[in-house]
């Protein structure tokens, strides 16, 4: 099943002009990434390091000093300013059609959510106050953030996430045929003997693209998905129903989920670890272990920004922490996740870190994952 660029009833109906604008932003970001950002490390040596040495009488040492030095490089500053502007233009290019078409999208959502005989379900918790470490931040500058909820049948947060995510990903060179769920399914086939779960949990599902893809790939699997935002989950639920797949969506915190112990055969998360702080990530790992059944598998997948070759590369990659609202980007990039999985109780010998090729896109597009298997009872 395609995951990116899928057509369904809750997407905004974009005009030709709006489509052109989104394609122009994709092209701008592709150029900035391929032709300008690619020169940042060289600019560090040519501009940033000499400027720092001239100012301080020694080379930069710590990540903070490397960051200070980068900001002394005209090349880096120009790229950073342009990249921030391009990121904001993503949201303008997708946000205009969303707010313009919102009345129709909300009506479509109502019809799908309230339809008799629908395939999945939606359980919102009015008493849940979305975790501020995620909800209070406009992560990757998404206006209003992941947990913005305007009430009623609001779906803005979910629509922004899916539409903005596509423009972002295509600008990164990620192919339309790539899929994080597809990468995990391939990993299960290659490393876990083609494991097929009877019951699956997707933690931090956002707009539900991966959850729906799993439900489509394994029609006999009962798929559950958790996120913190009501409007995000409304969108994800309506999206899945529109695509004809059943997913059960729940508004819960990843660090304390309301399912019974050992409820799932497979527990996954996609791009969640870099959106939450250390304490919540560790609690999420403990919950993963609690919720997976004996013999079941846990796979947490995320962006491949870990294990940079030098501190200069690491700080260059950390631009998102400082300029893109990705406040936990560096925490994730530098964490000892295997140690955290061990501390959560996973058997050390079962923990494996994976460097995974994308299904489609530029040859160097990779995904990171860490997996573990709970010993059979």
């Amino acid at each position: 099943m395609k995951v990116r660029d899928v057509q369904h009833a809750v997407l905004p109906q974009v005009t030709a002009e709006e489509r052109s604008r989104q394609e122009a932003v994709v092209a701008l970001r592709r150029l900035l990434n391929a032709r300008v950002r690619s020169g940042n490390v060289a600019a560090f040596e040519a501009e940033a390091r000499p400027a720092f040495v001239a100012a301080h009488g020694r080379a930069p040492q710590s990540p903070d000093e490397v960051q200070q030095a980068f900001l002394m490089s005209p090349h880096y500053r120009r790229w950073s300013a342009a990249n921030r502007a391009a990121q904001e233009m993503i949201w303008v290019s997708v946000g205009e059609p969303i707010y313009r078409d919102l009345d129709r999208m909300e009506r479509a959502t109502a019809e799908l959510i309230d339809a008799p005989g629908k395939l999945g379900s939606l359980a919102l918790d009015p008493d849940y106050d979305p975790s501020p470490e995620v909800a209070a931040v406009d992560i990757h500058l998404q206006p209003g953030g992941y947990a913005m909820d305007r009430g009623g049948h609001d779906v803005v947060a979910g629509a922004l996430y899916e539409c903005g995510g596509n423009v972002f990903s295509f600008g990164q060179g990620i192919g339309r045929g790539d899929s994080k769920a597809g990468v995990v399914i391939r990993l299960l086939e290659e490393a876990f003997g083609g494991f097929v779960p009877g019951k699956l949990l997707d933690i931090g599902c956002s707009a539900g693209a991966a959850s729906a893809a799993y439900a489509a790939h394994w029609p006999d699997t009962e798929v559950h998905a958790v996120d913190l935002g009501a409007a995000m989950l409304r969108y994800a639920h309506a999206r899945a129903e529109s695509l004809g797949v059943g997913v059960h969506f729940h508004q819960m915190d990843a660090s304390a989920m309301g399912f019974a112990d050992e409820s799932f055969d497979l527990v996954v998360s996609h791009n969640l670890m870099h959106e939450i702080g250390e304490a919540k990530r560790r609690a999420m790992f403990r919950e993963s272990l609690r919720l997976v059944r004996p013999g079941g598998i846990v796979i947490h997948q995320d962006v491949a920004i870990r294990n940079q070759p030098t501190i200069v590369h690491q700080v260059e990659r950390d631009w998102d922490t400082h300029f893109n609202g990705e406040v936990h980007w560096n925490t994730y990039a530098t964490a000892d996740l295997a140690a955290d999985m061990r501390a959560a109780g996973f058997a050390p010998e079962s923990i494996v870190e994976h460097d995974l090729a994308a299904l489609q896109g530029f040859a160097n597009n990779r995904w990171y994952a860490i997996s573990a298997r709970k010993p059979a009872a």
């Binding site: 030709a16 052109s20 206006p143």
Partner: protein, 104 residues
């Protein structure tokens, strides 16, 4: 809501947090943002012109390359050249401004 300005205003108003700048001058960074936004709008217009050229070529029953390669001479050429000069004069007005920089 259905208006484009209304939609854009709602989106812009929903952004939170501080905006960290990269360039030394806030004014320069804001001008860069305007220039990049206009570049995107130019791409949108080019896309529209390209679509029209292809449709007109199809209606005329000729390859679009032939339509694009139509050359003009005489008065039409002069009119087109003058339009280009005027556009550049408008765009580069600040470089032609005779006034001296005012003291702080």
């Amino acid at each position: 809501m259905s208006g484009r300005v209304e939609a854009l205003t709602a989106l812009i108003a929903s952004a939170r947090g501080e905006r960290k700048q990269s360039l030394e001058s806030r004014e320069a960074e804001e001008v860069l943002n305007v220039a990049l936004a206009l570049t995107v709008e130019l791409a949108v217009s080019n896309d529209r012109i390209d679509r029209l050229e292809r449709l007109v070529a199809e209606l005329r029953g000729e390859p679009v390359e032939e339509l694009r390669d139509i050359r003009y001479e005489g008065d039409v050429a002069r009119e087109r050249s003058e339009a280009t000069d005027a556009l550049l004069t408008r765009a580069l007005r600040i470089l032609l401004d005779p006034r001296a920089q005012a003291a702080e």
